[in-house]
């Protein structure tokens, strides 16, 4: 299949377009889906192409609409319900956890809930305490929900197609700062199976298991560590939060003996904690040092750019942790300072790239 470079958001749109084309039971609904901004352009043109009976705007009724999508799914539709911020999905936790997660189980497998709930994690430009939460652990801790967090455009498309075609409820979480990242994306229909993490970078010295956007920071840190310190980092992209692919991380840790887990959520109660617990339970003997977690601090993200500067861990935080864990003496060395300088973003802290200007 031929491929070309697409942004993550273009890849999501292509997944919608293909599944809408293939299956007339697929419908998209969400606040702003057909509006001029089109959910960060991911739904642009779809209502014109597929009509008002497939592509819906919706009342501001997150819980009700989630239940309505579940009921429609129980009768044969495949709805994709979209929240521009994951924070809004908290209004629908009743329907997601009490109904979507349990319907197949509690009715003894007689009925399926093929619903995708797409949620976007915000960051920067003052998104603040209620527009930048990273709630994957909340959903992942409920049996019956699949929770995915793709971090590449390739996975975004393949996992969205797989999610829509899956017979289970899938919580599809995108980080806003991934939307403009690019990767090679095949043109046609393909699925990324919803059960495996992915080794994005092979290495032998240390394992970094990373959720969502933190994978981007990890890749930058890994390149710099390789170039400057000849440290060869393996990165496991935890694109599946539930079910959690512990085995792939365990295999990597057996090889490297060191583990750093990166999370976009608050540190306490994050799913990186669950990952580390399971690695310690299953692979304690392979660990040469205590695993390390790098995540957001245990307080909400403040809005002010002054207060939120340094709130999020960065590639430098990760590189420092790698060097510490491997007991490499680096403080004030020229090598280290040049690496740090290379990793420093030449941008304000609250935007992912130079194209990004508020409001967003």
């Amino acid at each position: 299949m031929s491929s070309r470079e697409l942004t993550y958001i273009e890849a999501i749109k292509e997944a919608f377009d293909l599944t809408l084309e293939l299956d007339s039971n697929v419908v998209l609904i969400g606040e702003g889906v057909p509006d001029p901004k089109a959910i960060f352009t991911s739904t642009i043109g779809l209502q014109e192409k597929y009509g008002k009976q497939r592509i819906f705007d919706m009342p501001l009724s997150e819980n009700g609409m989630t239940g309505i999508c579940i009921g429609a799914a129980l009768s044969g539709l495949r709805p994709v319900l979209i929240h521009q911020r994951i924070d809004f999905s908290l209004l629908a936790v009743d329907q997601i956890i009490n109904n979507a997660a349990k319907w197949h189980y509690m009715f003894n497998g007689q009925a399926n809930v093929p619903v995708v709930v797409r949620m976007i994690v915000g960051r920067g430009w003052g998104q603040g305490p209620q527009h930048s939460q990273s709630l994957q652990a909340l959903y992942a801790a409920n049996p019956g929900l699949k929770v995915v967090m793709p971090s590449t455009a390739y996975d975004a498309k393949g996992m969205m197609i797989a999610a829509i075609e899956d017979n289970n409820p899938v919580i599809f979480i995108e980080h806003r700062w991934l939307h403009q990242t690019k990767s090679n994306v095949p043109v046609g229909h393909y699925r990324v199976n919803l059960n495996k993490a992915n080794i994005l970078r092979e290495g032998s010295k240390i394992t970094i298991a990373s959720f969502s956007y933190m994978t981007i920071e990890a890749l930058q840190a890994a390149e710099a560590l390789e170039a400057v310190f000849k440290v060869d980092v393996e990165i496991v992209d935890m694109r599946m939060v539930a079910p959690l692919d512990v085995e792939l991380v365990l295999d990597s840790v057996k090889k490297t003996g060191f583990l750093i887990a990166l999370d976009t959520a608050h540190k306490t109660g994050s799913y990186s904690a669950e990952l580390i617990s399971q690695i310690v339970e299953k692979g304690f003997a392979f660990l040469k040092a205590a695993p390390v977690r790098i995540a957001s601090p245990d307080f909400p993200a403040p809005t002010s750019p002054f207060m939120s500067k340094d709130y999020y861990p960065s590639a430098i935080t990760i590189a420092d942790a790698v060097l510490d864990l491997l007991s490499i003496d680096y403080q004030e060395s020229d090598n280290y300072l040049s690496m740090k300088n290379a990793l420093l973003k030449k941008l304000p802290d609250d935007v992912p790239n130079t194209d990004f200007n508020g409001p967003f």
């Binding site: 609409m65 579940i70 009768s75 497998g109 399926n112």
Partner: protein, 318 residues
Amino acid sequence: MQKESLLFKMLRIRRAEEMLADRYSEQEMRCPMHLCIGQEAVAVGVCENLETTDRVYSNHRAHGHYLAKGGDLNSMIAELYGRTTGCCGGRGGSMHLIDLDAGFMGATPIVGGTVPLAVGSAWKSKLSSDNDVTVVFFGDGCFEEGVVHESMNFAALHALPVVFICENNLFSVYTHIDDRQPSRQIYKIAEAHGLDSCQGNGSSIIEVHQKSKAAINRARAGHGPQFLEFNVYRWREHCGPNFDNELNYRSSEDIRLGLSQCPIENFKSELYSVNVLNENHVAVFENEIHSELSAAFKFACESPSGDLASASMKVFSA
């Protein structure tokens, strides 16, 4: 519609629940159980107007709705006994009933939980023009849930073929509606949401049947969502097999009045008085029902029980 059939169906629900109540103290049905004794006319009167392909959602007090829609009796009793032959294989109990062949889509005990599901079901009907109607049963307490209003709003917005049946029995557990809602009528709020709405005596099987027939026909004909509020009286405790007069949350006069509205006894007298039925016919009904129920309880008690290993399966669909 045959009047004797309506009586038979109400009587069957009444006797099924009475047998459940009688045997509950044996402690072999180990799940919460909410009886609809006194409210049978709503279940039977509404479901009598539905086709098998029409869909019904219900709540924690679901035995009557399930049986009236044609749900399998053996599977229901076995479910209360926690057996693998139960309609949920023992995973749900009394508060989780389902019979997809009968169009009974599911009953669950989170108040308001199934109301949007019914609207979603109707949304699917509208989008695929399948001509089916979806009915959802809920109570006066449920009407206080925000999700019910979200559901009505969307149903009205898209003119969906869904019929909301509110059984107003005045109590949420032991709390009277006057302590929960201001003095205005429930169906008027539904009307303000843009639904065709009316109120009726839920203890009169004929009234329920006629009003729901009109509503279901209108929904099927494309006139959008319908709302019916039926006043009913819950005879027994909120949860469990017993009467609860001793709790004194309702006066003995209120209870006497409530029981005097018995949908079955009153309808029976009516049918006797016009010579549609006599006591001999009813005795035949009683015998037939008793035999069926005895067999269902026997089936349940003799059915296999599951275990933890089987309980760990079917978390995800293939």
